[in-house]
């Protein structure tokens, strides 16, 4: 019997980010920090951001979990480094559309399009989304801080 193929889910790009995670480890002086755990499977992502003038200057992540959760986090840091906060929000929305609604990957997602195959496995979607939910939490903190600054 022929071997099952996993090319659609475990694309080379995903395995590459899993084996050689980019931007792994905490930042020396983060301005934003968030973390998230998936209670069902124990996957864990910590995210540090260095934001100034509305631009993400640097990101660092660490944690533990499956190839999907860790590669998604690695690709997130690579995609958003040096990008404005508003873009981070827009990209998160596009990742969600691809994973949750099964929309074809937006060209702006770049390497993140490799996660497309996860959409077909509902139980693994939460793995891919974990880092993005952590990012949303960090963005929420950034907005709150900005608001306090305006009113304070």
């Amino acid at each position: 019997m022929s071997e099952p193929l996993f090319d659609d889910l475990y694309r080379e790009l995903i395995l590459d980010h899993y084996r050689r995670p980019r931007n792994r480890g905490p930042l020396p002086a983060p301005t934003l920090q968030a973390e998230g755990v998936n209670p069902v499977c124990g996957d864990e992502i910590h995210l540090d951001l260095d934001v100034s003038d509305g631009v993400i200057r640097d990101l660092g992540f660490w944690g533990q979990g499956c190839s999907i959760s860790q590669s998604s986090a690695s690709m997130l840091t690579e995609r958003l480094k040096g990008r404005p906060l508003a873009e981070a929000e827009a990209v998160t929305g596009k990742v969600r559309s691809m994973l949750v609604e099964g929309a074809p990957p937006d060209p702006e997602l770049g390497d993140l399009a490799a996660l497309e195959g996860v959409a077909k496995l509902p139980v693994r979607v939460k793995c891919a989304l974990l880092a993005w939910n952590v990012l949303l939490e960090a963005l929420r903190q950034a907005k709150q801080a900005a608001q306090e600054e305006r009113h304070g």
């Binding site: 019997m1 071997e3 475990y10 395995l15 050689r20 499977c41 124990g42 190839s67 693994r124 793995c127």
Partner: protein
């Protein structure tokens, strides 16, 4: 030797293909599949006997009541209970343990009392005691495990003291498969004047368990892990304990006389079965017990022990695979947890599924044990009477597939 081909023929679900391959079901510690005899009993009950039990005068009500109580009798016989009055039907093993924590615990536990557990417990044998301890100001103490995944009996002995009111321990770990020496633990508990609750969710389906020799005061287990339907659990306890305990839930069927302010309780076992129970599933559970009895629990155990020995040997040869728990199949049930260097347990389970092999990955509702083992999660294969060597071969093939897909990572992990 079990006639596996004949047994498989009784399980309609096993006849299907998953991802183009024969379904290989190795998630039996989560729930087992159901033989045709059990499925047919459900249909037969609804087609011929459906009525509410215990209060009806008409023919169907009598028939349903007789079948329901006959199933209770089967359970009592199966575990060697003194009689059907010692068998309480609940929703699952979890509810059975919660029943003890509420009905016995609220009446018996005071501030400063101690409840001794083990880090090997399923969350269902931890959280009810945490809730009880919080209500009463009691203290939980946990026995640890040895490096090879056995219960640390010396540590347990030292934890049990004059303040210990209850020891609650699993007879078989749902992660490591470790079979605990319940008899020895019962002696320790009783010598300190404490009671012993045994979580039998994994053991009763796979080992001959006789409460007369077990030494336990309470035993909890679930029907769905032993070929029966979901939605039925059992609490067994010695009659004098049950008689002294206040009710758990209040409502119909559990009362004798109801007045405006107070009521009196029905006799055992009905005192603990408020409201209309899960009649159909209890009756079908009786068929599951009949099925297991027709094979014989000693034969079930022998088959699963042989398969486990084979699994330990073959899995041990898969590169980069580490097995948790005792090395000898004689000391464990048919549950094998493992980690693969190349891939996370969730990736292992996803790839195995691609081969039609159903295994489980995660913390298995045993986060304390995961911490004791120093891993976030494990992959777990668990066996039942319909599993054979061919299932093991399919698992090995899938795990070799894991190493192929994640292969490069294994080499790099070694370098890092």
């Amino acid at each position: 030797m079990l006639d596996i081909a004949r047994i498989r023929g009784d399980f309609p679900i096993l006849g299907q293909q998953v991802n183009g391959r024969r379904l290989v079901y190795l998630d039996n510690a989560a729930t087992t599949q159901k033989p045709r005899q059990v499925i047919e009993a459900l249909v037969r009950y609804y087609e011929t006997s459906n009525a509410n039990i215990h209060r009806g005068i008409h023919t169907l009500a009598n028939r349903a009541t007789e079948q329901y109580e006959a199933a209770r009798g089967s359970v009592a016989r199966f575990i060697g209970a003194a009689g059907p009055q010692e068998v309480i039907f609940t929703r699952n093993a979890t509810e059975a343990i919660n029943l003890v924590a509420r009905a016995w615990g609220d009446a018996s536990i005071s501030e400063g009392d101690e409840i001794v557990l083990t880090v090997m417990e399923h969350h269902s044998n931890i959280v009810p005691w945490q809730l009880l301890a919080a209500r009463k100001g009691a203290r939980l103490r946990y026995a640890g495990i040895t490096p090879d995944g056995r219960l640390d009996l010396d540590g347990l002995r030292q934890l049990i003291g004059p303040r210990t009111r209850l020891v609650a321990v699993t007879q078989m770990s749902n992660v490591l498969g470790t079979i605990n020496p319940v008899g020895d633990i019962a002696e320790m508990a009783h010598a300190a004047g404490a009671l012993l609750l045994v979580d039998g969710a994994q053991s009763v389906p796979h080992l001959p368990v006789d409460v007369r020799g077990l030494g336990a005061d309470f035993l909890a287990f679930s029907a769905h892990k032993m070929l029966g339907p979901t939605g039925v659990g059992v609490l067994w306890a010695r009659e004098e304990l049950l008689a002294a305990m206040p009710p758990f839930l209040g409502g119909g069927d559990m009362i004798a006389v109801v007045r405006e302010e107070t009521s009196t309780w029905a006799d055992l076992p009905h005192k603990f079965e408020a409201g209309t129970p899960n009649i159909a599933d209890v009756i079908a559970f009786g068929e599951a017990i009949a099925y297991l009895e027709s094979i014989g629990m000693a034969n079930v155990r022998r088959h699963e022990e042989e398969l486990t020995a084979l699994a330990l040997e073959r899995l041990g040869r898969v590169p980069g695979l580490q097995i948790f728990g005792p090395a000898s199949a004689a000391e464990r049930g048919g549950v094998v947890s493992f980690a693969m260097e190349a891939a996370h347990p969730h990736d292992v389970a996803t790839i195995a599924d691609g081969y039609g092999v159903a295994i489980r990955a995660g913390h298995h509702c045993a986060q304390l044990l995961m911490r004791a083992l120093g891993v976030p999660a494990t992959s777990r294969a668990s066996f039942s009477i319909y599993n054979g060597e061919d299932d093991l071969e399919a698992l090995i093939e899938a795990l070799e597939g894991v190493n192929r897909v994640f292969g490069e990572g294994r080499e790099r992990a070694a370098v890092r």
